[in-house]
C-alpha cells in the first residue's frame, strides 16, 4: 500500500501562487494597520488629556509644543489648535477602518487556499 501524507502531489498553479502572495501581502498590511491604529488611538488619548488639562488650568498663556520648542500661546489659540489636531486624528482613524476589508479579503483567500491544499498549507499567525 502506498503511504499518503507527506509528499502530496497537489499541483500549485500560478493562480494559487498569486493567491498565496496576495494573502502574504494582506497579512503584512493587517499588522501595519494594527500598529497604526494603536498609535492613532494613543495620540487621540493624549489630545483628550491635553484639552482636559487646558480646561482645568487658570493660566492665560500656555506653552504649546511646536517642533522642538515650546511657544507661549494664548489659551484660546491652544484650544482651537488642539481641536484641529483631534479632527486630523479622527480622520486618520476613519481611514484605518480599511482593516475590516483586509480581514474579509484574508478570510476569502483562506477559504480558497485551505479548500485546495487542506493540510499542506498553514495560514495562521504564529
Amino acid at each position: 500500500m502506498q503511504e499518503q501524507g507527506e509528499g502530496s502531489e497537489t499541483e500549485v498553479t500560478w493562480e494559487d501562487q498569486q493567491n498565496i502572495n496576495k494573502f502574504g501581502r494582506l497579512n503584512n498590511r493587517f499588522h501595519e494597520l494594527d500598529d497604526d491604529i494603536k498609535i492613532a488611538k494613543e495620540t487621540d488619548d493624549n489630545l483628550e488629556d491635553a484639552s482636559n488639562e487646558l480646561i482645568l488650568t487658570d493660566e492665560e498663556v500656555v506653552r504649546f509644543q511646536i517642533g522642538e520648542v515650546f511657544a507661549h500661546v494664548p489659551k484660546d489659540e491652544v484650544e482651537s489648535k488642539i481641536e484641529q489636531m483631534k479632527q486630523v486624528t479622527t480622520q486618520k482613524l476613519e481611514k484605518l477602518e480599511e482593516k475590516e476589508s483586509v480581514l474579509a479579503q484574508m478570510a476569502e483567500l483562506k477559504k480558497i487556499l485551505y479548500g485546495k491544499f487542506k493540510d499542506s498549507i498553514n495560514l495562521e499567525d504564529d
Partner: protein, 195 residues
C-alpha cells in the same frame, strides 16, 4: 503524478525590479529539475541561497524605510515652525518660546518679527531663506521623501512576493523528492515481493 504542462510560460512574471531578481515560478517540479539539469540537493541549495539574498536586501530596504519614516515627521515639524513665524509676521508681536539648552535645562527665547529663517541643509551647511522660500523648499523635501517612501514600499512588496514564491518552490521541490522516494521504495518492495 500529474503530467507536466506543455509550453506553460508564467507570462505575467516580472523578471526583476530595480536590481532585485524576480523568482521564477515553477509550473512543474519535474520539468524544472530536468530543464535546469540540477538534482534535488543542488536545486534546494540554490533556492536557499536565493532566499538568503532576498533576506539581505529586505534588511537593507527596511532600514531605509525606517530612516524615511523618521525624516518625514521632522520635516513636518519644521514646516509647522515656519508657518507659525509667518502667521506672527503681520501682528507686530514677538514669539516667546522655551527651548532645550541641554537635557532637562530650558531657556526662554524672544523671537522678533522676521522675514527669514536659516535652514540646516546637512554637511555643516546652514543657509538663510526668506519665509516663503523656506516653506517651498521644505515642502519640496517633504514631497520627495513621501514619494521615495512609496517607491520603497512597492519594492518591499515585490521583494516579499519573490520570497513567498521561493519558499513555496522549496517546499514543492522537497515534497516532490519525498514523493519520488516513496514511489521508489514501493517499487523496490513490490519487486522484492515478486521474486
Amino acid at each position: 503524478m500529474a503530467s507536466s504542462s506543455s509550453a506553460s510560460g508564467s507570462g505575467s512574471v516580472v523578471t526583476e525590479r530595480r536590481g532585485i531578481p524576480g523568482a521564477q515560478f515553477v509550473e512543474d517540479v519535474h520539468t524544472y529539475l530536468t530543464d535546469s539539469g540540477l538534482d534535488v540537493g543542488s536545486a534546494l541549495a540554490f533556492l536557499q541561497e536565493r532566499l538568503q539574498q532576498y533576506k539581505l536586501v529586505e534588511m537593507k530596504l527596511l532600514a531605509q524605510q525606517r530612516d524615511l519614516q523618521a525624516k518625514i515627521p521632522d520635516i513636518e515639524k519644521c514646516l509647522d515652525i515656519v508657518a507659525t513665524l509667518q502667521a506672527k509676521k503681520g501682528t507686530g508681536e514677538e514669539l516667546i518660546a522655551d527651548f532645550e539648552v541641554s537635557e532637562g535645562i530650558y531657556s526662554r527665547a524672544r523671537i522678533e518679527e522676521t522675514d527669514c529663517v536659516c535652514l540646516w541643509l546637512g554637511a555643516n551647511v546652514m543657509l538663510e531663506y526668506s519665509l516663503d522660500e523656506a516653506t517651498s523648499l521644505l515642502q519640496k523635501n517633504l514631497d520627495n521623501a513621501r514619494a521615495s517612501l512609496e517607491v520603497l514600499i512597492a519594492d518591499l512588496q515585490f521583494l516579499r512576493d519573490q520570497v513567498t514564491i521561493t519558499q513555496v518552490t522549496i517546499a514543492r521541490v522537497y515534497n516532490w523528492d519525498v514523493h519520488q522516494r516513496r514511489i521508489q521504495q514501493a517499487a523496490t518492495a513490490t519487486a522484492t515481493a515478486q521474486n
